[in-house]
């Protein structure tokens, strides 16, 4: 009976859509702390856009804080980047930090997949919400273990403005859903 086949096909299609929805919702569970915000707020005009022409990055910036475990939080999706709002604003004295994902999600290549191609001297720019463009120049790339002390990434004492970019590197651990390394790109205000 064609009608029964029709119903069964429809049921399959519904299941397919449900699977898709589940896949989407499940993958957002991968990042369980994305919506946690710190109670400490910074009175600032935040950066809104990161542009790195050398690796074709032009990404919106979301301000984020800490996870309950005390790590820097991460951007919600693969395309955006996240600024650590408990630190300096990009352009202020000190080390501002921006993180972006690597890997694939929702058929989309994550924003910092090409981060390792950056080289010292490459330039990047931040637009803040007053429309000001601040340019930074890559100084060095350094690899960190995922649990390594990151004091040098978040603190600087040279009275200059820095912007440090963090992405992932190394081996994907499918169980822990983590990469083994972090790549940090250190940049100085031009």
């Amino acid at each position: 009976m064609p009608s029964r086949i029709h119903i069964a096909g429809a049921a399959g299609a519904v299941f397919l859509v449900a699977s898709l929805l589940f896949a989407i919702s499940h993958s957002s569970v991968q990042n369980p702390h994305a919506n946690i915000t710190s109670s400490i707020t910074v009175d600032s005009a935040p950066p809104v856009r990161l542009s790195i022409p050398a690796i074709h990055v032009d990404a919106a910036i979301e301000p984020i804080g800490l996870t309950p475990e005390g790590a820097m939080d991460t951007p919600k999706g693969p395309e955006g980047v996240a600024w650590y709002k408990l630190g300096p604003r990009p352009g202020e004295i000190g080390s501002a930090v921006i993180a972006g994902h690597v890997g694939w999600k929702d058929k989309t290549q994550a924003v910092f997949d090409t981060l390792p191609s950056l080289r010292p001297g490459d330039k990047l720019s931040i637009e803040n919400d007053t429309g000001t463009i601040i340019t930074f120049v890559v100084r060095e790339l350094r690899m960190y273990d995922q649990n390594q002390d990151a004091s040098d990434v978040f603190n600087s004492f040279d009275e200059k403005a820095h912007l440090n970019l963090i992405g992932c590197e190394g081996v994907w651990d499918a169980v822990a859903k983590k990469y083994s390394k972090r790549l940090v790109v250190f940049t100085d205000r031009e």
Partner: protein
């Protein structure tokens, strides 16, 4: 830019002649070039109608040396320059090149100051642009299309920025009433105050003026005024009359603490250091002489300090005298190390000592300023501030810090207009009035008195903030700085990973699941058919 405070608003109501726009705009410092070394510079004459005391050089150009009247080398602890050999006896005379350059640089400085915008308008009146008491101005450019006048006290509030600049533009004359006073608080420094005067400046008797007067025509002191700054007249003369001019120089805060890169010191205590500096004698009334500076370095932190040194920007060598009781080369928490340096001071000068210590991979610094007056029996002010944070390291995300401050007077002259401010902690009084530490209730910070304060701040990132204490005695202002760094530990590195492409293509999974569902559905249909 800061809004004018209540005093302004009250004044606006009280004095209809005033017309502030409501905001003060940022001003830039004015480079004086070769005129910087001159305490007094004039175009047509320089007259000392009664004996005066000038610390800094004196110059006259283009008028020849015979247009010096009454001024002697005994009144000047600097060099007297003229364009020819007819200047005061004993002066260096004869340096037309230097004087021409100085006058040209003065013209440039005058034009630069006059051109600074945007300016807050001050409506013209005969003498009372800033009249009465209680005027407090924030850094910026203030402009009167015609005259500008001062009576009583005009307070310039630096807002905690030792580089704060004040530019006053008078379209025509600047006039001060007798005993008027330009007071400096919260980091304002006389070196950063500029009075651009479109015609001439006249100082009433006993004026205490802070700043550099750049006048198109003449500058006249009616008698007994003290100027920490400069009297620079482009085209006409300067008349001195029992005038005390001290060439103003800026003093700078000490460097912030630096933590060595890659050190694991973020979770331990950061060190703190303090230094006081006292010259002996404080003044040399009869002219140049020997002065011994005594520096006392103390450890106000919680860890012993090593690699201790003291440097002075105008005296060397600074030598260790005593204090390392257990001879372990560390300043322990109970120790106070004494250093000394002796030099001949030939003109009134302010010098800065910097003390350094090291502990827990961190270099810390403190500074102390001291002024010695030459040629007059005026006792200069001295002030000292100690600042201690309640914690030195906070976990990632930060938290609350309470800073404790002690302001003292290591000198002998009681201090008026005492102020304390911190550039990153709000809640300090600024100008101090009625402090319980003012034991004799004279509204002065006397030697032996201590003004204590606390201020709380929530910080989320590593923060170095600068406390500035300031006080005045005998028309001279003393300033002291204290830095403190509180480290906020770094968070863990973010988990910025999605699966790599090969493991993350959802269509593989979805197609598999979809096909499985279809097959299952078909199987059910077929099985039912078979049944």
């Amino acid at each position: 830019m800061k809004k004018l405070n209540k005093n302004h608003i009250a004044a606006l109501v009280s004095f209809f002649v005033l017309g502030f726009a409501g905001f003060a705009f940022a001003a830039s410092t004015v480079s004086l070039g070769a005129a910087d070394n001159f305490a007094v510079l004039a175009g047509s004459f320089i007259t000392a109608s009664t004996p005066s005391v000038i610390s800094g050089d004196v110059g006259l150009s283009p008028a020849v040396g015979t247009f010096y009247t009454g001024l002697t080398t005994g009144m000047v602890t600097g060099t007297i320059y003229a364009v020819d050999a007819t200047g005061p006896a004993g002066g260096a005379g004869n340096n037309p090149g230097l004087l021409t350059t100085a006058q040209n640089n003065l013209t440039t400085a005058y034009t630069t100051a006059a051109g600074q915008t945007p300016a807050t308008s001050v409506l013209a009146s005969s003498i009372d642009s800033f009249s009465g008491t209680g005027y407090t101005l924030t850094p910026g450019v203030y402009n009167s299309g015609s005259t500008m006048g001062i009576t009583g006290t005009l307070t310039l509030d630096g807002g905690g920025d030792p580089n704060a600049v004040f530019v006053f533009q008078a379209g025509s004359s600047l006039t001060t009433a007798s005993n008027s006073n330009i007071a400096l608080i919260n980091g304002a420094q006389a070196c950063n105050v500029f009075w651009q005067v479109g015609s001439s400046a006249t100082l009433g008797t006993g004026t205490q003026l802070s700043g550099n007067i750049l006048a198109f025509s003449s500058i006249t002191d009616n008698g007994g005024s003290t100027i920490q700054g400069r009297l620079l007249a482009r085209n006409a003369g300067v008349t001195l009359n029992n005038t005390h001019v001290v060439k103003a120089t800026c003093v700078n805060p000490p460097p912030a603490a630096t933590v060595s890169s890659g050190s694991a010191s973020y979770w331990v205590t950061l060190p703190l250091i303090s230094v006081t500096k006292v010259p002996s004698p404080l003044s040399l009334p009869s002219g140049p002489g020997s002065v011994t500076y005594t520096y006392v370095v103390t450890n106000i932190g919680k860890v012993p300090l090593t690699t201790v040194w003291v440097q002075d920007d105008k005296c060397s060598p600074v030598q260790y005298v005593s204090g390392d009781i257990n001879t372990n080369s560390f300043i322990d928490l109970t120790e106070a190390w004494t250093y000394r340096c002796t030099k001949t001071v030939s003109q009134t000068e302010t010098n800065t000592a910097t003390a350094h210590g090291y502990a827990n991979s961190t270099d810390v610094y403190a500074a102390a300023n001291a002024t010695v007056v030459v040629g007059q029996s005026v006792v200069p002010p001295l002030i000292h501030v100690v600042k201690i944070p309640s914690v030195s390291v906070l976990p990632a995300g930060g938290g609350a810090v309470t800073y404790s401050y002690s302001v003292t007077n290591p000198g002998t002259a009681p201090l008026s207009d005492v102020s304390l401010i911190d550039n990153k902690c709000t809640g300090l009084p600024g100008r101090v009035v009625g402090h319980p530490g003012d034991l004799n209730k004279n509204n002065l910070l006397d030697p032996g008195e201590t003004f204590q304060f606390t201020c709380q701040s929530n910080i989320t990132q590593t923060t170095t903030n600068l406390a500035t204490a300031e006080g005045t005695a005998n028309g001279l202002t003393a300033i002291a700085f204290a830095n403190a760094t509180v480290v906020v530990a770094a968070p863990g590195l973010p988990n910025t990973g999605f699966p790599p492409k090969s493991e993350s293509n959802p269509w593989n999974i979805l197609i598999t699941v979809g096909v499985f569902a279809l097959v299952t559905g078909l199987a059910v249909v077929i099985s039912r058919r078979l049944v």
